[in-house]
Point group: C2
Chain length 418, copies 2
């Protein structure tokens, strides 16, 4: 042994947002490996721990949950297993006795391929930001109240296409479809000319529930494993023409991007905040102002994730999910109160996250006010996305002891319509 | 050998709608068997052939597609395999040399448990009946054109919840949710008081497609394996309050029932009919009036399925899917034209099938004209469904040589809210 132990991937710089206080889960493979060999990895700094191999090397029973091609077996294992596995992982990357076994199983992030981390069952997208819903209402219905009458009584949401949820880094082909401006005598067909982003959080369901049995606010953490960033790419022109009376379809179905890393809720306790004050009384199943107990929430329901959105490297928005009116627990309670069951791998999105100020808007339609106020980039103006544009969302959350918890980025590049 | 061969399950009465010209696929288990042992069955008359066991007994390579707990492996095998397997099955149940092997593998339908026949990937529901859309428009927007401007330019549709697609015979728990009548100062919560049916066809996708690559009209039969009856249970009061601006959610997410039997398209050639005349020109990707070839359809796109709906045994509607304005091929072409990929197990519904006359309406909201004209049943009047009500949809289609092709029924009973 030398006098000074050399730095290894286990010796992270102080304050690394992907330290042992974080430990998000993904699925990776190494160069040259067949896709069937992909397996669960846990991010530590700028390395990926082969979690199943570590479990095997250290004689852990969790090899059956971790040496798997998706997170679904771990997701299905339930809250107690999630805590136990996290405790084991924390020990593997912090206890000196494990260093020798663990070090060879850490791969530089730049060397690995990251895959969609879980098989998506159903995907529901909500509309939980009051600022976002108000902005869109002002734009499209200037003579009415910006919020529809139901908006403060229930978290409005709809089902999206789970088969086109893709992992961060996947190219997004510009969708084609029908659009019709008021001046057009008939719809025209072609590539979308109003391609947009939606800056969202995505929540990943682990524990399933029975059809006919609602999940109360208090059971949120028994069912939801973790969260990620989510970009719900939206073709505003296609959406606008198709959307009456049954809602969005092709304007949203071509791609939804999620982070390669799912942050467990257990890493986000310090990020919890009280949601905005409720300006109308809530029905009991959604009332998170009620005292804890008896199915009511026993902890603040919001998350203060600080999100930055860049377009071709230039910051176009900085916002926080603390401003969401509806919490993840309320969305889950609402989604199931009619009897819908949950499956392992269900994903639900918050809807676009926008704050009160102009710089906190999470979609281009809001940032450019429906194209009226283009943004200036070094290569020209933008109202909506152009081919070749790269959108990247990054985030961090307050962690324990003044640390930051890094959230896996979600990025994607627009490719010309085929 | 006696002078007269005794009748066996292979000796069907003449004209049996489930004869060898039909051969729909399901998934079954026998009494006392664990659910893991469920396997593909093929219906013949009032019997179920254990298809994988037959393949094994007769040395067929299709055992790998048929001795499986869902239809998904067969669905994924593609059009050529579908035709080959159907040809083999036809031989097994008709060629005298196979009788001895096959007879012990036929189980009375009354003895088996039928399961959801395939794992549902994404579920999209369309709105393809002009009469249905017009009726709803007249009811809810009496001062406007009944059809929205987009309706004749594209098949309107939206994503539903695939996790609550259930097999025929599954009880449906009355959903609870928020509703608000104009007179209510605020929404109230409780069991739906306007629980309805939607009489639909469901189309089952076998062959997947790539993200970014549309499926043209001409490729419909390469991707779609077969069809079934579908009842898209709908809570009209919940739907009405929640639906702006993003469409239905809890009003539809509690249950969608499908037949236990999937009828292969190959059994339905004699049922094909030209769809109604198109009253506005269609964009090229939807234009089934164009000459065949070059991605255009080469056969009539509609199906003349004669559907009967009963409520507690009393016929409340008789309609035909021939009246659908949009065909299954058009729905598929539209669903994918924006770049959405298909997965094996994708399911899409036609939307409520209503004809021009009052007796041909496929939902209670139309039959009772939003509750104004109750129907009379022996046990009392009905506007919407009451607890204990049983709704059953049956259908047949014209088959070859003046036969009828029976379509598996879809039935369900309403259970009181929990």
């Amino acid at each position: 042994m030398s006098e000074q132990t050399p730095l290894t991937p286990l010796d992270l710089p102080e304050g690394d947002p992907f330290g042992p206080h974080n430990l998000p889960y993904g699925v990776f493979s190494l160069p040259g490996e067949a896709v069937e060999l992909r397996r669960v990895g846990v991010r530590l700094g700028s390395y990926v721990l082969d979690a199943g191999a570590a479990a095997a090397a250290l004689g852990s029973p969790y090899v059956s949950l971790l040496a798997r091609p998706t997170l679904n077996p771990l997701l299905a294992a339930g809250r107690t297993a999630w805590s136990d596995v996290r405790r084991a992982l924390t020990a593997w990357v912090t206890v000196p006795a494990h260093r020798e076994a663990v070090l060879p199983l850490l791969h530089p992030l730049d060397d690995v391929t990251l895959h969609l981390p879980f098989e998506v069952a159903d995907y529901v997208d909500f509309y939980a930001s009051e600022n976002h819903a108000t902005n869109l209402g002002r734009m499209f219905r200037p003579d009415e109240e910006p919020l529809k009458p139901n908006w403060k009584h229930l978290p409005v949401g709809y089902h999206g296409r789970s088969g086109t949820v893709v992992v961060s880094g996947t190219d997004v082909v510009r969708p084609s479809g029908q659009r019709k401006s008021p001046a057009d005598p008939a719809p025209v067909f072609g590539p979308s000319v109003r391609l947009d982003i939606e800056t969202e959080l995505g929540f990943v369901v682990g524990t399933p529930s029975e059809r006919g049995t609602p999940v109360p606010l208090s059971a949120y953490r028994d069912h939801v494993f973790g969260l990620c960033l989510l970009n719900d790419w939206s073709a505003r022109d296609i959406q606008s023409w198709e959307t009456v009376p049954l809602g969005p379809h092709l304007g949203k179905s071509f791609a939804t991007s999620v982070s390669a890393w799912i942050t467990p809720l257990d890493a986000l306790d310090a990020a919890r905040v009280a949601p905005p004050e409720r300006s109308v009384p809530l029905l009991p199943y959604l009332d998170d102002t009620a005292p804890p107990g008896d199915g009511m929430a026993d902890e603040p329901g919001g998350y203060d994730l600080r999100i930055t959105v860049t377009l071709n490297g230039h910051v176009i928005a900085e916002t926080s999910s603390a401003a969401l009116y509806w919490t993840a627990a309320q969305m889950l309670a609402h989604m199931t109160v009619g009897g819908a069951s949950l499956r392992t791998g269900d994903l639900y999105g918050s809807g676009t996250i926008s704050g009160a100020s102009e710089h906190e808007r999470g979609s281009l339609i809001e940032i450019t006010w429906n194209g009226r106020d283009p943004i200036e980039l070094p290569d020209g103006k933008r109202t909506f996305l152009e081919d070749g544009d790269v959108v990247t969302m990054t985030a961090w959350a307050p962690g324990p002891d003044n640390t930051r918890v890094g959230i896996g980025e979600v990025t994607g590049r627009i490719v010309a319509a085929g």
